[in-house]
Symmetry: C2
Subunit: 499 residues, 2 copies
């Protein structure tokens, strides 16, 4: 592969006048769809990763696919960056605006166009909220499975951009496994449909490459999703362990026994102690770690599987097992997990939610290393995560008003991600790379691999106007980042052997 | 997207002398790995689609990844087409050689390198047979789920190229859902790894675009696959129906009831009558269609699910239901399905196995249309297929020694595929596009969509040397094919309204 990284993504220049851009957009869109005064653009300056902020030159809020096509053509002609935005709940800065570009908001694409019962699918616009799809499908006994924590607010378009996960993704798959087709406007203003209702579409699987492409390939205007039958019942086992290691092994044992839980989450002692006084979920305050393990299906299936899960946990050394006896109790058990982030807000002025993935067998080792890093960086960290997937979400607690705590939190986060790579994992589980993890991409991938990403990016977007300076690091950036890490002539990463 | 189709894929010229190519390859590979005499290259002239044949200029059979890198670099330098080949069992001509190119056979990459029990994965070379993976994993109670009919012979590398399916794919997914990582040599001779062991890898999902890319993007040298626990038990319900329509509705009802059978296959009366005298599977000769529906899991789960399946079938009007009472009987029921192709060979000198996918709700209508086409084309057709996926495999029976029967079979096949597109389906379910369906790609996709495919193809392979003239039709080809179909100024496809 030719080294395309050298040519760089960060070279976007805007040789247009702002006036020209506003005029062109105003000619193509109704006046209320083009915002350019600072008081109007300010609300769009960041997404859920509020550490990074940037005011866009213009915010465009199209109402029709034709308007999206027009925006793309204008931006291509004027060589203007475009950053698409769903609900702005993303956690890696994927929707952070470009200061010289257009922030293309899809909030007005909020219609559920069709629910088809025979094929159990829904056709929706990208601005529809994740949970709204399940609500609309509910009267038919169906729902949309991927359930990010932000599902009450996040949009399906953003889910497609980030390939979002959630508690249920261990059993039911990520966004990519639950989306059948997308309609996409390319940088040229063309409309293409990727995917099909068939199990495998002819030609290259561009749907999968589009899902999780973080706004780099095109703008979605319509999404066809799979709906699945709501299970008749669900129960949770809550199991306590006297060490994180024992809990980690129990996770492996459940999977090895041939079960795929509907959810399998771990919280360490710091997390349960942070959450319990706030939520009163009934967590075991003596445990070093607890697991929440859900089974869903028919009542007979659930009873059978819950019994097997409990047996595996006891065999793996659980010090306590408690099975939810009612739907209310099941929801109470989950309430602590789901409210871990707000709970963090009660014990710390700020928190930084990381997202990395490791092979399950390294859970105990990596959690031990994170604990030692707390001393190194002088910050506390709670762990609440998708244990079944090996997807960690360390919550680094800090105070942005204290000198250098932001910087230490960022460094702590970077060290965790690089540790994930070192044990054979990856720098993101479900939040995407965005702005946040672009340096770690240099650690994760070889130069040839980054070149392959960039070549595909350019196949869709030759001028590199779509979400520039994110996700794929330039050669210069990696060289710069490498220099920071070089110590006595060698790359210096967190030394796992120390832990 | 720029119209890249115009520049064409079919323009590959070979401005080298054959002698030059042989010398370069012989310098890089041991003598026994480079074949160029006609008696040596003849066995490689076609794959499982023997209607199309072409002798390659040279056959290269590398033994190491470094040799694959060398072959790629030589071919790039000499502007020589490369067609990769696994076991040669493909049914769409994907491994048919280019007459001026190198046929790169991966049969010597036949080692199972590692089976990891903690992560339930296997690392294998691309020439390993599909079934050999399950055999090697069997002592540990694990297996590799996708099971194409050719699994005893086909290679995992070929499965990756075609995104192969099989009876179990309804429940366990296609190849793309069961492969975690591939090592790939690019046309430049670089080695890249795509995918990861995590649920979602950072950056673009190039693993998914690579799986099913039919040899157009690179050559695989190593594959990491998921292994899953062998179910403790399996049973089949065999249900008879008095019409294809009733059987089609029963398929929809099973899925709508929230069950995902381990296999859900349909055979029409012509197929059962063709197979039964040969296999003696015990099929109901009075039925217009039969369904084979499998449940697997623990004995309790299977007993419960089989009872629910039977209830759904009776409700849907099954005239007879029979549940396998032993493993021997289960295998007997499947034997007829699995031997349908050999059985066709007993009643007809030749047969042509088609592969298209339709929304399940149109099963009855499309099967009715195919029946009427039998008269139109003067050929018989039996239907044996993955009903749960809506993936049809019409078997067109013909005699290649009779004048024009080959041509009529091809036209019959093309008409079936275009009918699939017309009802909202696709021109391939699991066999790939290859040579065979390249014209139908013009029917399936818009110009902008074909351009998107080609742009991604070129991102990996700018000179378009990897499997040229396949999968993605040129603009000229589509124009030519369109002309054949134009009738009174309009595109003429099979008229569904007639049926």
């Amino acid at each position: 592969m030719n080294s395309l990284v050298e040519t760089g993504l960060a070279q976007v220049q805007a040789p247009y006048s702002l006036q020209q851009l506003i005029e062109a957009l105003s000619a193509a869109l109704p006046a209320h769809c083009v915002l350019f005064r600072e008081e109007d653009t300010r609300p769009y300056e960041c997404d859920g990763l509020s550490l990074y902020r940037s005011l866009p030159a213009v915010v465009a809020l199209p109402e029709t696919e034709e308007q999206v096509q027009a925006i793309m053509r204008i931006c291509k002609r004027l060589n203007t960056p475009i950053v698409a935005r769903g609900a702005g709940t993303g956690l890696s800065g994927g929707a952070m605006p470009h200061s010289q570009g257009v922030l293309l908001g899809l909030s007005k694409f909020n219609r559920i166009k069709h629910i088809d019962l025979a094929s159990a699918t829904a056709i929706v616009e990208p601005g529809v909220r994740n949970l709204a799809i399940s609500e609309a499908a509910s009267p038919y006994g169906l729902y949309y499975a991927p359930d990010p924590s932000s599902q009450i607010a996040c949009s399906i378009g953003g889910n497609v951009a980030e390939n979002s996960g959630g508690v249920h993704c261990l059993k039911y798959g990520l966004t990519v496994h639950n989306v059948l087709r997308v309609r996409v406007v390319t940088i040229d203003g063309d409309v293409v449909e990727l995917g099909s209702e068939a199990p495998d579409a002819p030609g290259l699987d561009l749907l999968s490459v589009f899902v999780g492409s973080e706004g780099m390939l095109g703008v979605v205007t319509e999404v066809t999703v799979k709906l699945i039958p709501k299970p008749a019942c669900a129960q949770v086992v809550m199991a306590s362990f006297s060490s994180v290691e024992a809990a980690g092994n129990a996770v492996t044992q459940v999977i090895a026994a041939g079960m795929i839980p509907a959810g399998l989450e771990m919280m360490d002692r710091r997390a349960t102690h942070m959450v319990e006084p706030f939520v009163r979920a009934g967590y075991d305050m003596d445990a070093q770690a607890i697991l929440l393990c859900e089974s869903d299906g028919t009542p007979e299936e659930v009873a059978h599987e819950i019994a097997r899960m409990e047996a595996v946990f006891r065999e793996a050394g659980a010090t306590r097992c408690q099975v939810s006896t009612s739907e209310a109790e099941r929801l109470k058990f989950w309430a602590g997990r789901k409210n871990a982030f707000p709970a963090a807000g009660r014990v710390s002025p700020d928190y930084y939610c990381m997202d990395g993935t490791i092979p399950r067998r390294h859970l105990a080792r990596v959690l031990g290393a994170i604990e030692q890093m707390e001393d190194e960086f002088g910050l506390r960290c709670a762990n609440v995560f998708h244990a079944g997937d090996g997807n960690l979400h360390p919550l680094i607690l800090f105070d942005s008003n204290k000198p250098d705590e932001v910087e230490r939190a960022e460094k702590f986060g970077a060290a965790i991600l690089e540790l994930c790579v070192q044990v054979g994992g990856t720098v993101t589980g479900e939040h995407g790379v965005g702005m946040e993890k672009i340096n770690q991409m240099c650690v994760q991938f070889s130069r040839d691999e980054l070149d392959a990403f960039l070549a595909v990016k350019r196949a869709f977007d030759p001028p590199c106007l779509l979400n520039p300076e994110k996700v794929i690091p330039t050669l210069a950036r990696c060289a710069e980042y490498g220099k920071m890490h070089v110590h006595a002539g060698e790359l210096r990463f967190p030394d796992l052997a120390r832990f």
